[in-house]
Symmetry: C2
């Protein structure tokens, strides 16, 4: 393996907690940090000093409140130097690689995509290598690479099984490290998106958080105590076995009335085509449904009820503080959001805490960004968990 910069610096547990808190919580004064981390003011001085000296943190010129009832010595907020390091995130699909460069804060500063000439591991590694070369030229201070792939990933480095790439046990992290000389983290794409949302997105700071992705398939991510829960059937088509409506439609792709049959884009298109004989894109179907065309409207309504049922069940059993709907197949919410919320209401106790439901139509660059966040977590902060 190439010599690797390991973690940025050997961060003590105390320093790490400060770094993460500032990274996730925006600029924070030392006093505020002391309160949040339950430490004394003196400890904060001690912990922040090396972080500032190393360039990870800087004192920023007091953004806060303009000139209210503030009194006493002004606080001196600290912030991470987001640009001090850059990260690359790749999302590998069966025919494309989508790439982004992000800051330490996971803000996307560049995008770069390329078609995949072949699915052979060597070809994929070479494509990733060339893309990294190109990006490295424009973005110095690269600290690491994160790669998201659909399929089963082991130890954040080996692609154990990826049906669409037709890979088995490919040590992708090692190969790309050899090619690029940068440390590499590989993860399942849904897992990466979930981690990204947990750290920097909708799930920031939450104890119980669920991500449901709808696209070509169904993805499910569960975050408990700030940590993502891994599970055996991850990314192996479990949504085909979630029976939402036993009398629902039967499609070639899943059990009758399963979440896959009812909700995924290919299966919604299949249903409409089977009924009308015409092939339509997902967007066309949504448009027709919104315009009141009976058949697409019926399919979309049924999907919305299925989604509402799923969300209600998750809400009832997992008691999450928030559920994020992501992926390309959540456009549904714009057309039939009312049906979804009504279905949820019908299957929840009136006194139950209302479900905080967030919708985020994500494109492939969001998936790539998720992979970059993995790299940030592992490489800079040395955090295997949060």
């Amino acid at each position: 393996m190439t010599p690797v910069a390991a973690s940025w610096l050997p961060l003590s547990p105390g320093e790490r907690s400060v770094a993460i808190e500032v990274l996730l919580g925006g600029p924070l004064s030392r006093t505020e940090l002391a309160r949040r981390l339950d430490l004394s003011a003196g400890s904060l001085t001690r912990l922040t000093k090396p972080l500032i000296e190393s360039g990870l943190l800087v004192e920023v010129p007091e953004a806060g409140v303009p000139a209210e009832a503030r009194q006493g010595r002004p606080s001196q907020p600290l912030d991470v130097v987001a640009e001090s390091r850059s990260f690359i995130g790749f999302k590998v699909t069966e025919d494309m690689v989508y790439g982004v460069v992000t800051t330490l804060r996971s803000e996307i500063v560049a995008r770069y995509d390329r078609p995949l000439p072949s699915r052979e591991p060597a070809a994929v590694v070479e494509t990733l290598g060339e893309m990294t070369d190109t990006l490295a030229a424009a973005h110095p201070r690269l600290a690491g690479i994160g790669i998201g792939v659909g399929g089963l990933v082991e130890d954040r480095s080996v692609v154990g099984e990826s049906p669409f790439l037709e890979w088995r046990d490919v040590p992708l992290a090692e190969l790309v490290e050899e090619r690029t000389g940068l440390p590499v983290v590989v993860e399942n794409d849904v897992a990466a998106l979930v981690e990204a949302e947990t750290w920097f997105g909708a799930g920031r700071g939450l104890e119980r958080f669920v991500v449901l992705t709808i696209g070509a398939g169904i993805g499910y991510g569960l975050v408990l105590g700030g940590k993502r829960v891994p599970y055996a059937e991850e990314d192996r088509g479990f949504g085909r076995h979630w029976i939402v409506d036993p009398n629902g439609p039967l499609t070639p792709d899943g059990a009758r009335g399963s979440a896959v049959s009812l909700l995924t884009i290919p299966n919604i298109r299949y249903q409409v085509q089977a009924a009308t004989g015409r092939e339509r894109t997902y967007e066309e179907i949504l448009g027709l449904a919104a315009a009141g065309e009976p058949m697409p409207a019926r399919v979309i309504e049924e999907a919305a009820r299925a989604l509402g049922t799923l969300v209600a069940q998750i809400g009832n059993f997992v008691l999450p503080q928030k559920i994020l709907l992501a992926g390309e197949g959540v456009g549904l919410m714009d057309v039939a959001g009312k049906t979804v919320t009504e279905t949820i209401r019908a299957q929840r106790h009136p006194l139950a805490a209302p479900i905080d439901l967030e919708t985020k139509v994500s494109d492939f660059h969001d998936w790539a960004r998720g992979a970059a966040v993995l790299a940030i977590q592992v490489l800079v902060l040395g955090a295997t968990d949060a």
Copy 2:
């Protein structure tokens, strides 16, 4: 408030973790404890010394392995002195109080029940007081009382709302403390059962654990990271809104096809009576179903499918390591367990980890024991969380 012995002794965090580990993990040597708690051998000597001196722990005469490949100085297992303190647990129903006395290990050493002359708070407190007097005579060294009631309990002391007792905002803990002079913990009965199972029962040491109780109603308890998750609709009939089968039976008690309609004892009896015109006990219905009587068999089969669906959904979304089915209404599993497991299988991914499903028919003394465990947690170990 009566002078209260507070925690047994002021336990340092380190001492507390040792005490809990030994309490839950049986006799353990210092070396074993050092490994489990990730401490050095020296620390264990330091931490165990005061615990032994105070009488909470003792060295026991080496139960373990007979004479195998053991070499070197024999280990000196430590165990809690289970009898060093006794605890009372009460389960209050609308017409009865069920009481138990337990050891520190939550082993039941005595049972004592009494009918409730009235639901007035004063009468209930007096009944509890007299029962405590009786039990105290036979069991010295009482350290505290735990009380489980159906309904909403706040701060482990005030009964906020209990429909069947017709109470609102009764400071039960305070009243019983005044009457008995012992520290008192009050908790919702399901919550107490869940805590007991988490500490001493089926959920011992698990990260994710679910308890589903079936009886007069449906109870749900979620344990994540070893801690029970509280929720707003707790014990307020949420099961009426879990729609398991939209085409299921309609009963006076819940929405069509809800878990309450399909699974609870009163609703199963209602269904059988509505169809056959004859009133039957739950046990009779189970017997008839087992004997192949069509109508009861149909109701029980439908209930079993509903239970299987619920368990599968919980398994899919919560990913628990274990699900405990408890209460008086799980006799179902003996008659139609096969249907339940088949339904679960149909709605789970083949690669998913099989659900560890445990069934425990519990009586009222198990509920009372749960309340006693709460007292152990709070009063002895000063643990608001595990």
